[in-house]
Symmetry: C2
């Protein structure tokens, strides 16, 4: 069954700092017209930096929607017109101070395809050279070093709820440990 | 470093069908007051149904924000006051027609903790009994049977972009195949 929803028109209902909300009319394959709500987001990157000893550099950061400190991979939003790879190099440097010899593409993910256009591009960073972190003003985060196996145990114990972080850790495990 | 952002006040800027957008003022630990945008979402569940032969029952569904058909685990939003487990039983039945002897908790994930309050509760469903799918009006989806190993290959080939689906598949693999 082919099923396509055809956009008829739309209206921006909210235009904020990070997101924009659009409310469209769309025609279903049965001819019925429905409303479709889309949260538009610029997308972003997430980078799992791992050194030669299997240590990963993670950030612990306050996340306002959950009033909670979360352990996540370094990440950030795409700036207007920015390529994901360049954004990954920039965010890795800004948040951890590292430069990497190699950024391995772990694929992209749609965080909430039912209502949001957000796409996150994930990378594994290897060949790390220490530099200097330079955070945005008003950005507070701590870099923490954990071994990949310790982080995978934390995933199993459900101590890491952030979706992009779980995906990057489990994909890195597959890539580095399971496919040799 | 403890770092907390204290909510001062907020305003609902958009109240839609699925999401609500709130714009708050929050006080940072350095005393500065910033604006924090939160997309409020009721949260939901995702269920990976797997039979005794290792076959998984997936849904292929048009996702409007990407104008694309995506292969995903059966999933749905929590209704007001609904418990995740009850929602999982309901969505599994509605989308695939299956009832399950066992729903194994795969943990919860925050899809976009930077700006959205959405939490998805993930389950592995085993002991499947065929019933009858009864979709919502205006819901069009196809159920497809794929083996878990085939789906993991699709994850490796980046053919499955949906975050919750990738997490459920990789966690099921860890649970069923890696920890024996």
């Amino acid at each position: 069954m082919e099923c396509i929803e055809k956009r008829l028109d739309g209206e921006v209902k909210y235009s904020g700092v990070i997101v924009k909300v659009r409310l469209d009319h769309a025609e279903l394959e049965n001819g019925k017209v429905v409303r479709r709500e889309v949260v538009e987001h610029p997308g972003g990157v997430g980078i799992l930096p791992i050194d030669g000893e299997g240590n990963c550099y993670m950030v612990r950061q306050f996340r306002y929607p959950f009033s909670q400190q979360l352990l996540e991979i370094p990440a950030g939003k795409l700036e207007y017109g920015e390529e994901p790879l360049g954004c990954a190099v920039r965010e890795l440097s800004e948040e951890t101070g590292f430069e990497a010899d190699e950024l391995i593409d772990l694929g992209s993910c749609y965080t909430s395809p039912g209502f949001s256009s957000e796409v996150l591009h994930l990378y594994l960073a290897r060949g790390l050279h220490a530099g200097r972190a330079h955070l945005d003003e008003d950005e507070f985060l701590n870099v923490e070093k954990h071994s990949l196996s310790e982080l995978l145990d934390m995933v199993d114990r459900r101590e890491i709820p952030d979706a992009k972080t779980v995906i990057a850790l489990l994909k890195a495990d597959r890539l580095l440990n399971r496919k040799a």
